[in-house]
């Protein structure tokens, strides 16, 4: 048996190491950001870790911190079921299981020299935040940078302070919209695709990064294609239930690809025929 397929080499990435929560912040209802003591942890924007709430289970969670700051390992988690809820309920000092980073992230090198359109929906801003930190840190390498963000209501806007700070910058364009709002909200109301129809960019030389509910990404991707952006340069981060996260169990299979190993970030050209199919 070659080394690559030895039991030990398969098992190693399957064994979580035990880390501790060092900081916990409630962002919005049901969403918590955890800082985990990770030692020096290098990751690429868009990659994810498998986090374990001991006694409950394991879930795939994207790294949401700054890739330039390898000393702080940050994840933003929304409680939707047993595992994710248990993760959001961990307190400072409690143990958490960690393995990763896994997957292929955002195409940062390919974005260089291009207008970059980042479209995030709801919690989708978390997996995109590392890419945004990188874009801002290396601002001179890119053309226009547009961040379009959609949420259900003003109370559901993630990383609101940061969004407001980014909005104050003159070298990036930030637009947020919500599905509905009360009278005191002075921003946009409407689905995120409406922001796209007003956005100015050079479609022929643009690259887009999308993360959010799949239906939102589908509509945004199609709207980008209509504007003339090449489907090879529209990237989506996909979610499917994961078990091994290293391409062995087949749990995350999506047509011919494994989300954990071949993604989670894919060009739309690779997904277009699959994403609207009910049986996949």
């Amino acid at each position: 048996m070659t080394d690559a397929f030895s039991a030990a080499s398969i098992a190693a990435p399957m064994i979580p190491r035990v880390a501790r929560v060092v900081k916990r912040k409630r962002e919005i209802e049901d969403v918590v950001t955890l800082e985990i003591e990770g030692g020096a942890f290098d990751f690429a924007p868009g990659q994810f870790n498998m986090l374990t709430a001991f006694g409950v289970g394991e879930a795939a969670i994207s790294v949401s911190g700054d890739p330039a700051d390898s000393a702080r390992l940050i994840h933003t988690i929304r409680a939707v079921g047993a595992v994710s809820r248990a993760l959001t309920e961990l307190h400072v000092g409690e143990p958490i299981g960690l393995r990763g980073p896994f997957g292929r992230g955002w195409p940062m090198a390919e974005a260089e020299g291009r207008d970059v359109i980042v479209v995030a929906g709801g919690l989708g801003l978390a997996p995109l935040r590392p890419a945004l930190y990188r874009l801002f840190a290396e601002r001179e390498k890119y053309g226009r940078i547009l961040l379009l963000f959609g949420a259900r209501s003003p109370a559901d806007i993630l990383f609101r302070d940061e969004l407001e700070a980014w909005r104050g910058r003159l070298d990036i364009e930030v637009e947020a919209t919500v599905d509905h709002a009360r009278g005191d909200w002075r921003g946009n109301v409407g689905v995120v695709t409406t922001l796209l129809s007003r956005a100015q960019f050079d479609a022929a030389n643009a690259l887009a990064m999308l993360c959010g509910p799949e239906i939102m990404m589908r509509f945004v991707a199609n709207a980008l294609l209509e504007r003339g952006v090449a489907q090879e340069r529209v990237y989506l981060s996909m979610e499917r239930n994961m078990k091994c996260a290293i391409g062995f169990c087949g749990h995350c299979q999506f047509g011919p690809v494994f989300i954990c190993r071949d993604g989670p970030v894919f060009p739309y050209s690779q997904l277009r025929g699959l994403i609207a199919k009910k049986e996949i």
Partner: protein, 154 residues
């Protein structure tokens, strides 16, 4: 210099590329209007006698809910069309439209345009072609809002 209403209509995104003769017909039904912040362009239940093409400023489309007060379901901005109820009988607004900031708009007299469209169906067809894309876009947006895409789902 005061711009003629015909020039303003011609320059508006909604009428881009429209035949000069049709622009003249529409302009004959149009006038300039401005609304101060907080002022309503129209209210639910009122007769839909006008529609508006926004030139500056933003408008909130609101639904009134006894428990929650006014809920904004859409905002419209420069270049957008405000008001579709004038197209279908009984020509009544089904929502409120409130100026968020100072709004300047081209207001088009709906009865006047309907009359001219009946007389010249080519104008009517031209107008329909221009109204359909925002109508379909709004229907699609309403569907996405309706299924609450950002919520957790069972």
């Amino acid at each position: 210099m005061i711009e003629s209403i015909e020039h303003i209509v011609k320059e508006h995104r909604f009428f881009a590329g429209m035949d000069a003769g049709f622009v003249a017909l529409v302009s004959g039904c149009a006038k300039n209007m401005r609304f101060d912040p907080g002022q309503y362009l129209f209210h639910e239940g009122d007769s839909a006698d006008w529609f508006f093409l926004l030139r500056n400023g933003s408008v909130a489309i609101e639904l009134r809910d006894p428990a929650r007060g006014a809920v904004t379901v859409q905002t419209l901005h420069e270049g957008d069309l405000c008001g579709l109820s004038w197209l279908v009988p009984p020509y009544r607004w089904t929502y409120d439209a409130r100026a968020i900031d100072l709004v300047r708009a081209i207001a088009v007299d709906a009865a006047c345009l309907r009359r001219k469209s009946e007389a010249d169906p080519r104008l009517g067809y031209e107008m329909m072609k221009r109204f359909m894309p925002p109508l379909v876009e709004r229907l699609q947006a309403a569907r996405m809002q309706m299924i609450d895409i950002y919520g957790a789902h069972d």
